[in-house]
C-alpha cells in the first residue's frame, strides 16, 4: 500500500484535470462526483497506508518518483516520505477534504463556477498532499507555494468583486514574504548539510551542538515562512480577509489544512528548532501574542466568519506556543482537533449563511435554533470543543499545550489561560448572537429560513462526532490515558525528546491547571450568556458609540492601516520617485544629455564656418603657426 502513495496526490490531480478541462461539458452532478470520489479514493489509500504503517516495524518509507533537478552538487529528487507524521496529515487532508467536497456539492450548488470550484479544490488537495508527502524541503516548497496559489484562486473565486480580488492578492503576497524566508532557509540548509533530504539532514543536525548559529538562522527563516503560511504576527492580516472566499474554502484551507502547514513544517524539522532555543522562545512568544491579539479582535467582530477567522489565528497561535515550549505532540494534537472543530464551525457558519441567503452579520441573525436545529446542535459541539471543556477534543489538546507552557514558564501559562477564557467568551458570544434571542433579520430572510440539505448537514454531523471524540487519541497519563498519539509520533520526535528531556509534571499540578483553565472557560461562557441572552445585548451598528478599547478591537488594532502606512504607501511613493526622478530625469537625463550636448556643440561649432575666405585663411595661418610651434617646440 505504501508504495502506492504516489496515487494519493495523483488522484486529486486527475480530478482537477477532468473538472478543469471538462468544466463546460460535464454536468454538475458528474463534476461533484469526480471531485468527491477522487478525494475519497485517496482517503481510502491513506487509511490503508496508515494501517500498514501502524503495523510495520520501520516507521519511515521513502518512495521515489523521479529525479527532478540536478545542477552541480545540488540534486533534488522528487520523492515521497511516508512516516507517522505525514500519514496522519494524509488522513486529515483527504478525510476532511472529502467531507468538505461533499458539503460543497450542496453549498456551491447554485454557483456558476461550480466545476471551476471543484477543480480548484482538487488542485488544492493535490498541492497540500505534496507539501505533506515531500521527502525534502524543495518538494515541500512546491506544495507550500502550490497551496498558496490555490488559496489565491479560491479567495478570489468571486473575482468580479474587487475587494475579494484584493484580498486574494494580499494573501498571495504575504505568503510570498514567508516563502522567501523558506527559500533562503533551504539554501542555508543545502550549504550546511549538503543535501535537502530530510533523511540526510536530521541525523546530521542531531549531532550538532545546541544553539548553533547556523541552525539559529535557519530556524528563524523557517519560522518566518511559517508565520506567513500560518498567519502569525506579523503576517496574519491576510487570513481574516481570506474569508472573502466561499465558506467551504475557509473551512478547508483557512482552518483545517493549509494554515497548519507551518506547524507541520516545524514539527517536521523539530530537531533543528530544538537545537536553537532562542528560536523556540521566539516561536512561543509570537504564538502567544498572536493568540491573545486575535482573540481580542474576535471579541467584537460581528461578521460570523470574521469571528471564526480570528479564532483560527488565535488557535494557530496556541499551536505555535506549543511548538515553542517543545510540546510538538501537543501542537500537532491541536492541529488535529482544531481541524475537526474549526472545520465544523466554519461549515456550520456556512450553513447559517446559506440559510440567511448570504447574510454574514450576526447583528441580523438570532434565534436560529428552531429553524436550523442540526446546524445549531453541531455548532454547539464545536463551540464547546474549542472552548476546551472536557471531555471534548479541544480540551485535551489545548490542555497539553498549556501544561507544557506551565512547565516551561509560568507566565506563558497564565496568559495562555486568559486567552482560553477569551476564546470561550467570543465563541459563546457568537453562538448566542446567532441562535438565541429573537430574529433580527429582514422579513424575506426570515421567510427563506430553512435547514440545509443533507449533503451539507451530514458532513456537519460527522465532524461534530470527531470534535467530540477526537480528543481520545491523546488522553494524557494524568487522566489514565496512554496518549496513543505521542507514542505513534515518537519515531519522528525522539531526537528532540531526547534533547529536551521527558515532560514531567506531577498529576496534582496537572489537575489544578486543568481545573483552572476549564473553570475560566466556563466562567467566560456564563458571562457571555448573561451579557447576550439575559441582557439581550446586541452589538452597536457601525458608526455607533463604542468604548475606546472596543473600538480598538473592532478595528483590528488598525494593523492593516499600519502596514499600509508603513510599507505599501512608501513603496508606491518610492516607485514613483524612482521612475520619474531617478530613471527619467536622472539616468535617462544623463544619457540624453550626451546627445543634447553633441547637438549643442554642433550648433556652436558650425558657426566657425563663417563663409568668409579671409577668416578661413586667417584660421589656416593660425593653425600653421600653431603646428610649426608645436612641432619645433619638441626639437629644441
Amino acid at each position: 500500500m505504501i508504495n502506492l502513495v504516489w496515487l494519493v496526490p495523483l488522484l486529486p490531480l486527475i480530478g482537477f484535470l477532468i473538472n478543469g478541462l471538462g468544466r463546460n461539458v460535464l454536468s454538475k452532478s458528474l463534476v461533484g462526483l469526480v471531485g468527491c470520489l477522487s478525494v475519497l479514493a485517496s482517503f481510502a489509500i491513506s487509511v490503508g497506508i496508515f494501517v500498514e504503517l501502524n503495523a510495520s516495524e520501520t516507521k519511515s518509507f521513502i518512495v521515489p518518483v523521479f529525479d527532478w533537478i540536478t545542477a552541480g552538487t545540488l540534486s533534488v529528487p522528487f520523492n515521497f516520505l511516508v512516516d507517522p507524521l505525514s500519514s496522519i496529515m494524509l488522513l486529515i487532508v483527504t478525510g476532511i477534504g472529502f467531507l468538505i467536497h461533499v458539503y460543497s456539492t450542496g453549498y456551491m450548488h447554485d454557483d456558476a463556477g461550480f466545476a471551476k470550484f471543484f477543480s480548484y479544490l482538487n488542485l488544492f488537495v493535490f498541492f497540500m498532499l505534496l507539501l505533506v508527502l515531500g521527502s525534502n524541503y524543495v518538494v515541500m516548497f512546491i506544495g507550500w507555494e502550490g497551496v498558496g496559489l490555490c488559496s489565491y484562486l479560491l479567495i478570489g473565486f468571486w473575482f468580479t468583486n474587487t475587494s475579494y480580488a484584493q484580498a486574494a492578492k494580499k494573501a498571495f503576497v504575504m505568503n510570498r514574504i514567508g516563502d522567501l524566508g523558506f527559500l533562503i532557509a533551504v539554501f542555508l540548509i543545502f550549504n550546511t548539510f549538503g543535501s535537502l533530504e530530510f533523511a540526510k539532514i536530521f541525523p546530521q543536525a542531531a549531532s550538532m551542538v545546541t544553539g548553533d548559529s547556523t541552525l539559529l538562522l535557519i530556524t528563524i527563516l523557517l519560522f518566518i515562512a511559517a508565520t506567513g503560511k500560518s498567519a502569525q504576527i506579523p503576517l496574519f492580516t491576510w487570513l481574516p480577509d481570506a474569508m472573502a472566499g466561499p465558506t467551504p474554502v475557509s473551512a478547508l484551507i483557512h482552518a483545517a489544512t493549509m494554515v497548519t502547514a507551518g506547524i507541520y513544517m516545524i514539527t517536521r524539522s523539530n530537531i533543528l528548532f530544538t537545537l536553537s532555543p532562542v528560536t523556540m522562545d521566539l516561536v512561543a512568544v509570537i504564538g502567544l501574542v498572536t493568540a491573545i491579539l486575535a482573540a481580542c479582535i474576535a471579541l467584537t467582530q460581528n461578521d460570523i466568519k470574521k469571528v471564526l477567522a480570528y479564532s483560527t489565528v488565535s488557535q494557530l497561535g496556541y499551536m505555535f506556543l506549543g511548538l515553542g515550549v517543545g510540546a510538538y505532540t501537543g501542537a500537532f494534537f491541536h492541529v488535529i482537533t482544531h481541524a475537526f472543530f474549526k472545520a465544523l464551525l466554519f461549515l456550520g457558519a456556512g450553513s447559517v449563511i446559506h440559510a440567511m441567503s448570504n447574510e454574514q452579520d450576526m447583528r441580523n441573525m438570532g434565534g436560529l435554533k428552531k429553524s436550523l436545529p442540526t446546524t445549531f446542535f453541531t455548532m454547539l459541539m464545536g463551540t464547546i470543543a474549542i472552548s476546551g471543556l472536557p471531555p471534548f477534543s479541544g480540551f485535551f489538546s489545548k490542555d497539553e499545550i498549556l501544561a507544557h507552557a506551565y512547565e516551561h514558564n509560568k507566565i506563558l501559562w497564565v496568559v495562555g489561560v486568559i486567552g482560553a477564557m477569551l476564546t470561550a467568551f467570543y465563541m459563546f458570544r457568537m453562538m448566542f448572537l446567532t441562535f438565541w434571542g429573537g430574529f433580527r433579520g429582514t422579513k424575506e430572510q426570515e421567510h427563506h429560513l430553512h435547514e440545509s440539505p443533507k449533503s451539507m448537514t451530514i458532513p456537519l454531523i460527522v465532524l461534530a462526532v470527531l470534535s467530540v471524540a477526537g480528543g481520545f487519541i491523546g488522553v494524557p497519563a494524568a487522566l489514565g490515558g496512554s496518549h496513543w498519539l505521542a507514542s505513534f509520533l515518537a519515531p519522528v520526535l525522539t531526537p528532540s525528546v531526547q534533547k529536551l528531556g521527558e515532560f514531567h509534571l506531577d498529576h496534582t499540578t496537572e489537575y489544578i491547571l486543568m481545573a483552572v483553565s476549564v473553570g475560566g472557560a466556563v466562567a467566560a461562557a456564563i458571562f457571555a450568556y448573561v451579557k447576550y441572552v439575559k441582557g439581550a445585548d446586541v452589538p452597536v451598528r457601525d458608526g455607533g458609540e463604542r468604548g475606546a478599547l472596543a473600538n480598538l478591537s473592532y478595528n483590528k488594532f488598525y494593523v492593516d492601516e499600519l502596514y499600509a502606512a508603513v510599507i505599501q504607501r512608501p513603496l508606491d511613493a518610492l516607485s514613483g520617485f524612482f521612475f520619474k526622478v531617478v530613471d527619467r530625469m536622472g539616468i535617462d537625463g544623463i544619457v540624453n544629455g550626451f546627445g543634447r550636448g553633441a547637438s549643442e556643440a554642433s550648433k556652436s561649432l558650425r558657426l566657425l564656418q563663417t563663409g568668409n575666405v579671409g577668416f578661413y585663411i586667417f584660421m589656416m595661418v593660425i593653425g600653421i603657426a600653431a603646428i610649426i610651434v608645436y612641432s619645433f617646440y619638441k626639437i629644441y
Partner: protein, 167 residues
C-alpha cells in the same frame, strides 16, 4: 660690397612688397608688384641665374602683371573702391603674418649653412645648361606641364566667355 648690394636690393624688395599690400588702390598695388618683381630679377642676376632673370622679366613683369592690370582696368577697379578691412582684422592679419614669419624664420634660424653661398658652378644658370637638364631629366614634367597649361587655357575660356545659354 656684394653683401651691401644684396642688402640694398633686398631692402627695396621688402619695401615695395609692403607697398603692394598696403596701398589702397589696386592699380598701385600692381605697379608696386611689378617693381618688386624687378628687384627679384636683380636678385636672379646676382645669383647668375640669367635664364630665370629673363623669364622672370618677360613672363612675370611682362605677361602676368599686364594681365592683372588689364583685368583691373576691365573691371574698372582703378580706384579705392575696395572698402578696407576693419583695423582690428588688419592688425590681426599682420600679427598672424608676423607669427608665421617668426615661426618659420625661427625654425630655420639655427642653421649650419651660414657659410657664404659660393657658386660651385657658375654656369648652371645659363640657358644652355638649364636646357640640357630640362630636356633630359625633367622631360616628363615638362611635357605634363603642357596638360596644366592646356587645362588652364580651356578653363579660362570656359569661364570667362559670356555664356549664351542660361542655366
Amino acid at each position: 660690397m656684394g653683401l651691401s648690394l644684396f642688402y640694398f636690393v633686398a631692402f627695396l624688395s621688402v619695401f615695395f612688397a609692403l607697398l603692394v599690400i598696403f596701398s589702397k588702390n589696386p592699380v598701385h598695388s600692381v605697379l608696386y608688384l611689378i617693381v618688386t618683381f624687378f628687384t627679384f630679377t636683380i636678385h636672379y642676376i646676382l645669383l647668375n641665374a640669367q635664364f630665370l632673370a629673363v623669364v622672370n622679366f618677360i613672363v612675370y613683369m611682362g605677361a602676368i602683371m599686364v594681365l592683372f592690370l588689364f583685368v583691373l582696368m576691365l573691371l574698372n577697379l582703378n580706384k579705392e573702391t575696395e572698402p578696407m578691412k576693419s583695423n582690428l582684422l588688419k592688425v590681426a592679419g599682420v600679427i598672424a603674418g608676423m607669427c608665421l614669419l617668426v615661426t618659420i624664420a625661427g625654425s630655420v634660424k639655427a642653421l649650419d649653412v651660414s657659410d657664404p653661398l659660393v657658386l660651385k658652378d657658375p654656369g648652371i644658370g645659363l640657358v644652355k645648361n638649364l636646357g640640357k637638364v630640362l630636356f633630359s631629366d625633367f622631360l616628363l614634367p615638362f611635357e605634363i606641364s603642357s596638360i596644366l597649361l592646356l587645362t588652364a587655357m580651356v578653363g579660362a575660356v570656359l569661364l570667362a566667355k559670356r555664356d549664351t545659354k542660361h542655366a
